[in-house]
Symmetry: C2
Subunit: 336 residues, 2 copies
Amino acid sequence: MKLGRIVREDLDGTVHRLVAVEPDAERVIDLRTAHRVHLERNGATPSAARRISAAWFPGSMATAIAAGRGLVELAAEVVAAAGDDAAHELAAVTWAAPIDPPVLRDCLVFEQHLRTQFGRADIPVPKQYYRAPVYYKANPTTVVGTDAEIPWPFDSSYMDYELELGFVLGEPALDVTPDEAVQHLFGVTVLNDFSTRDVQSREMSARLGPAKGKDFATALGPWITTADEVDVTALQMLARVNGEQWSKGTSADMMWSPAEIIAYVSQSERTVPGEVIGSGTVGSGSGSDLGRRLSPGDTVELEIEGIGTLRNTLASPGAVRWWPEPKPRPAGDGDA
Amino acid sequence: MKLGRIVREDLDGTVHRLVAVEPDAERVIDLRTAHRVHLERNGATPSAARRISAAWFPGSMATAIAAGRGLVELAAEVVAAAGDDAAHELAAVTWAAPIDPPVLRDCLVFEQHLRTQFGRADIPVPKQYYRAPVYYKANPTTVVGTDAEIPWPFDSSYMDYELELGFVLGEPALDVTPDEAVQHLFGVTVLNDFSTRDVQSREMSARLGPAKGKDFATALGPWITTADEVDVTALQMLARVNGEQWSKGTSADMMWSPAEIIAYVSQSERTVPGEVIGSGTVGSGSGSDLGRRLSPGDTVELEIEGIGTLRNTLASPGAVRWWPEPKPRPAGDGDA
């Protein structure tokens, strides 16, 4: 099943609604509506049908996933029973990010990207990448969906995209093995880890990892394909900029499997429903890997087989409002 | 006002309740109860009083803070009107973390700690720390409160504490200046950024920042002191281990002010209500700064003037369940 979120208007403003996506039929099914209609046909009063459908299909996908295995079963049931009464044309909907992750981690498990990036900075590839599926943590509150315009931070002249898989977690996992981890993968989406390379490079010199160079926006979407419908071991991954193909890769090149990644993340640390783990950039999957830069107004499309196409356009650089004045630094500190 | 969260039992299990804390009176006021009683005295039906008090005082402090400036005003009003009817003995309550932050960042704005840590690793202090209040992002879902036992990850033999201020943010901020940022500080709490130094050092060699070395737990508490009640520019900060004083510092030593930190975080990136930003470790505020290590069973107390004492005890090391097998590494990669 393919699950997404769309933006709709009700009497009090905009709301998010969970949808089942049927790309071939070019339609989406509003799951709360379908559930409500189905309940009413089974004798529920309108107000009881509203209450129960709202509890199962809230605006937050992470909250919905927290309900456990019953969610996807129920979604399939209500689509079959009342999908026609809750359908919207695919081309006409306004998308939101398919998931509002409580935590957003991002690995770096494609060796080609790893070697290109460290090679460019003239730093040996750290051993640690071969010891464990290392990750940094992104800002989960600045996630956007397909069609969203991406803000361009004022302090950057080097904007880039990153073509990645996004693994959406389901049931909480703690100290699981890779064999056990498989059942904790709820689904897969496309992830674009937009990055300002100049900002990122400056701030990573402090050795605390990326922050403002990446946290202005992370795109997810267009929807989530549930794990039962997609084999993530060999998916073609493409990036196009203004219609021209820039990147082509395959998920077959992952050094660490999704099961190993989830198992690693779960050691001594409980995962939560709806959290997202990025795979890291596929080989050649960013402008930086290719010696190219994005420009304001560019449209970036990331397409992954079995999922769909995540499309975003870049805004113009923002206006400068404030930036820290450097603090005095002791003499003799060198140039680090 | 001092605001915290306690754990209580209702018919369906444990719930979190927001409380106003009166340390001198040795009591806490359950705010939802006080509000409900106050509403009923003003003619509300019991069910209307339940509904409205639940909306204002949910179990999530971040959700409550999102209601804006009315929250603290209402809390003060209901404590004055019906506090005696909703009071519990301070010594008898079970604490939760005072806040469930949607995002958790942690800076490093105390120069002495910065110099000790980089000096120990024999790395020059990066310039970037003097250019901006640099931070890493922690896992907001593994936050615990005072009295919580801290798990000891199986892969560490070097556990440490970090004595920090935690800045709790209120109204969303985007591209604000330090002058404007002041009004976005909701309150201050004590933060213990528990760290396994051996794990942290290994993983930071990958240059993506701390992750599993710190994300097993972050302690916050015992409660939040609202910004109007505390001047964070010169607070005494103490750490005791098993009753013995290990660390003593002052917030006066911050290189970057809370206003500068919030302004920096807000550039090109909207903050969200209830997010927490750690100050970083005060000078000498960790075992690592002193050449000392914690042991299983140790009790760590962090006390900050004007807030209170955050107390946690360390568990015994966990059992090994699984750990990644290293992947083959190309010859000639060196020892990085």
